[in-house]
Amino acid sequence: MLLETAARPARTKPGPSLTSDQAERIRRIRRSGAYILLIISSAVFLLPFLWMLTTSLKSDAENLAFPPQWFPDSFHVDNYVKGWSGSLPFTRFLLNTILITALSMLGNLISCILPAYAFARMRARAAGVMFTALLATMMIPREITLVPKFIMFSKLGWVDTYLPLIVPEFFGVALYIFLLRQFFTTIPQELIDAARIDGASELRILWSVMLPLAKPAIAAICLFSFVGNWNQYLENTIYLRSVEKLTLAQGLGMFNGQFVTQYNQMMAVAIMSMLPILVIFFLAQKTFIRGVTLTGIAGR
């Protein structure tokens, strides 16, 4: 923002203080300064990934070497195969993770869109109280509900099943409802009134007017939900017991408990289990960033 406005054309500049030549030079210096800062900070952010990658390509001997070697002498791509199809059933873990993530995301979408629309566009006497309760649930530590929820699900006999991880996802997530509601409130009332005059039902308005306009927010929620469930570790560890039911995040944790930790294979598996999220992020990013821009403009 600062540099951009500094680079505004000379017509908005007061007085004769700068010639266009000097202004151009200042603009260039600032721009290259920004690039240098960005490249340095990107390097800091990327360095751990580079290390992850080189570790995943080390031989077993290099893995155990002390002091450790930062770069492998030759690339051992077979770590990827060995890690994945070693003593832990990672293909099974992958399928489990996909199942839990997909169902949770579906549940989040259904259960967040409807309440968000109601909070944004419908009037009822209890609406204010309910909205306060919604915001309050965002502030209450999940530790408070963790213990009673565990007791409840174990009484229901749901421990060591996927039900405690999936069923609650069909009953709304406060943060996502709040986010969607903010989006829905920015959509012009005229559009809704026009649809009402045409005789559209509420569900129809939601489906054909609101949802297409709120696509960026929906994309953001899909992304948050996907990443959150894909990497979910704590609740999975509390509820899942049998090895064949575990997820990728837990499988990675189990690498640690083995006799000799094979960091090279472990990092290979970690990289592989990250790939689906990266693909989703790249696909959603355009819609998402545009959505961010849209909220900004519409909110003012």
Binding site: F45, L114, R123, P141, T145, P148, I151, V227, L278, I289
Partner: protein, 296 residues
């Protein structure tokens, strides 16, 4: 009443219908468990035997528990550190990422990347980055002739090490800042420029005040998240060395799912709730001094 009434009643009925998924979930998975946690905090229960009523026993025990007070201290230290460093550093990054430069999308993706790494991989990665002898950070420090600290192996540097890790994974905060920056009307900058304001002046008099509600949001939610976080700490240090990284969340987890001391765990969670409320309330009262709202 008036003729509007049946319409309003119909709208209210629809509202309740639409809200019902969340409302049912709220009762089942939030309000119910919260009430249960209140009851539980007055009991002693190991999940196997029948619970026994101990009155305020758990609360008395908590106030006399030195490990509890230690965990509060660690939690506050970690919260202050990660929010202070995180909020300023990510703000500066967001300012940079908001420049109309080439490869903008690429830079944004790079900064968001750490947020998608699985918690476990993050933990192991940082165990190695922070290793006292051969860790990445101490290697870099050694190359410029500085002897790095022991990080997670030392009592006083363990929390700072965890703070560094938390800043590395703050991609969501950057995204929220970017959203705010794009919402600042361009006309404000143009007006400031006509008044002869340089870029530093525009930053302090336009960007910072206009962004203050967003900064405030990030501070509040950042604190709540930091006070509640412990999963990575559980994997990395299990609270050690000594009790240096035993944060409150970890202490609760240990009592609930390692010692199966459910009543005391519930009591400790209420302490966490009070801590979150107190910190949030302090922030809201301070906010009046520095947060600028365009529309009241």
């Amino acid at each position: 009443m008036t003729a509007v009434s049946p319409l309003a009643r119909r709208e209210a009925r629809r509202f309740h219908l639409f809200v019902s998924p969340w409302l049912i979930g709220f009762v089942l998975f939030s309000a119910g468990p919260i009430l249960a946690a209140v009851v539980l905090s007055f009991m002693q229960w190991n999940l196997l035997q029948t619970p026994t009523w101990v009155g305020f026993g758990n609360y008395v025990r908590m106030f006399h528990d030195p490990e509890f007070w230690e965990s509060i201290e660690n939690t506050v230290q970690y919260g202050l550190g990660s929010v202070a460093l995180g909020v300023t550093f990510t703000f500066l990054l967001a300012l940079l990422l908001n420049q109309p430069l080439r490869f903008q999308g690429l830079f944004r993706t790079v900064m968001y990347l750490p947020s998608v790494v699985s918690g476990l991989a993050t933990a192991l990665l940082w165990l190695n980055i922070l290793h006292p002898d051969y860790g990445l950070i101490n290697k870099v420090l050694a190359s410029v002739g500085v002897q790095g600290p022991g990080w997670l192996a030392s009592q006083e540097w363990a929390i700072p090490g965890l703070v560094l890790m938390s800043v590395w994974g703050a991609g969501n905060t950057i995204v929220i800042y970017l959203a705010g920056l794009q919402g600042i009307p361009k006309t404000l900058y143009e007006a400031a420029e006509i008044d002869g304001a340089g870029w530093w002046r525009r930053f302090w008099s336009v960007t910072v005040p206009m962004m203050s509600p967003v900064i405030f949001f990030n501070v509040v939610t950042g604190f709540i998240a930091a006070l509640q976080s412990y999963v990575l700490i559980l994997v990395m240090t299990e609270g050690g060395p000594g009790n240096a990284t035993m944060v409150l969340g970890l202490y609760i987890y240990r009592h609930a799912f390692v010692y199966f001391d459910m009543g005391y765990a519930a009591t400790l969670s209420w302490a966490m709730f009070v801590l979150v409320i107190v910190v949030t309330a302090i922030q809201f009262s301070l906010a009046r001094r520095w947060v600028h709202y365009e529309f009241k």
